[in-house]
Amino acid sequence: MKRNVMTLIIGVILVVIFLLLLFTFQVRRTQIAVVTTFGKPVANLDQPGLYFKWPWPIQHVYKFDNRIQNFEDRPSQSLTADSNPLIVTVYVGWRISDAAAFYPKFPGGSVEMAQTMLENMVRNAQNAVVASNTLSAFVNADPTQLKFDEIQNEMLQTVQTDLATNNYGMKLEFLGLKKIQLPDSVTQAVFDRMKANRQKLIDNLKSQGVADALRIRSAADSDAARTLADANAEAIRTRAEGEAEAAKTLPTFEQNPQLAGFLLRIDAIKQSLNQKSTLIFDEGIPPFDLFQNLPTNSVPNP
């Protein structure tokens, strides 16, 4: 009897496991699912968890990855509004948002077919948006003129509208430009222009360097001259103040101008005759007049 109970328990467990496998299924955190009854969608599951179903062939469960998937368009050449050829490559982040809508649109829920359809939509939107913008909207140093984000948003809105209109069960989360390039032949012209511009820049740099150096030197000369002029003015003013101060002593000398003049002459003689001077004098000049009438060894002139 004991053996039978144990066997029964094991049998029940096996049956329960079998029934669970037959009647339940899991939807993971990264999945959404659609349940079909005889091929007709009856339940759209977008939350993870354990769900019940009738076994095949009554019901069938189709699960899809609902994470954002990366898709990159192939490079596509378009003309801008100002007739510049641009090769643009776009990447998008998209996901399956509605399994019940997605499943019947693409046989077997084929993601590859969905991406092919998405590629066409993105390319159409890309061509239309590129054609409605000038090149300066794509490349511009002025942030107010650069329409990079606006262009991306315009493409995104166009594709999102197409997806919603056709109810593909797909959602475009974001779209961005991956590459902006020029046709092979145009790059040669760009190189020629760049080379010419560089040559101009070289010439400008050389002349600018000379001009700047000249300007710096001129400014320095001017500054130096102004500094010296200011210093001269200051020196003159200082000396004038000294002379004015000295002039206050004039009344003293006015007591006897003869003496004042005499003393000035005496001082002038002392200051003007130094070691490098040669003084020539004769007997008529005091105090050498004392030598007058002294016997000399000079030879009288004939």
């Binding site: 994470r67 998937q69 430009l177 130096a224 003393l263 050498f288």
Partner: protein, 366 residues
Amino acid sequence: MSDHEHHHHEHGHTHEHSASEGQDAGTQALAEALRSSFFIVKVVMLLMVIAFFGSGFFTVGASEKVVILRFGKPVGEGDKALLGPGMHWSFPYPVDELVRITNSAQQSVTTTVGWYFTTPEQELSGEELPAGSTLNPAIDGYLITADRDIVHSRATIVYHVRDPIAYTFGFSNAPMMVLNALNNALIHAGASFNTDDILINRQTDFRDAVQQRVMDLADQEHLGIEVDQCTVDSIPPRQLAGVFADVVNARETSANSITAAQSEATNLVLQAGAEAAAKITRAVVDSGNYVTLVKADAKRFNDLLPQYRTNAALFEQQQINLAMAEVLTNVGDKWFIPENANGKSSQLRLQLNPEPPAPPTEGQNQ
């Protein structure tokens, strides 16, 4: 029938006993075998049960988190769903499923959408293919700058996952999303900056613009990452390497000229300042000396005035003689020319500014 009863019956019926003895021994052996087998099965089942529940133990490393999916649904919400380092237990598959997330280790991606065609091996060995006359958009990458030039640029970002749940469960290929955000950031920055700013003048601003846009896009797309570092390497097209080098040389030459001029200017201004200061100082000193001298003269005048008034002629003679004595002491040459015996004055002739003799020529020396 018990074993004891069966034993007595065996003694009463010897012939039957031998036949049934063999049968009972076989039954007994079979029963023993079944008992043993059943015991082994029970032990195996017990071990399997232990192994089943024991397999639920798992460890989480220091640089990772684990999310338990129970029947596909995360256990817990937000940060509570993340199990940190240590030992944990969960129901074995298919009830629970573990998702391991590397969260703290830094990851990096490098974009080459702006770089010419090459391989790391060619680059390391310095055997890159020579540049053609044009760029092939199918294989060569580059940026179109704001001034519509072409430059090559590549960028690398180092990032870590800030929100592991968003990064792991939100994207089928999150690193590719990060790379595309970097691709977009690089061409956007290239389209916003002029060539010289990218290559020379504003390299740091350019790099910051790339990094900022990657962070903005990561936030917009809910990638759940934090950018730790961004490096950008930009060069002019290889086809124009020569002329760009000439620009660098010209810029260097110009800068050197300006630097030399600035140095000269600084010296000139400093020299003028020093000279000006000296002039002013000299004026101040001269003025002071002059005033002092004049005051001294005035004092001397006042001292001498009474003597002068007493006998002006004698005073003057005295002063002249004193002055002459001083002058004669100081002067270098003193020529005294006495009168001739006939009473006439002697003549002394001086040649002023004599013309210096011409230096001898080389031929003359020989």
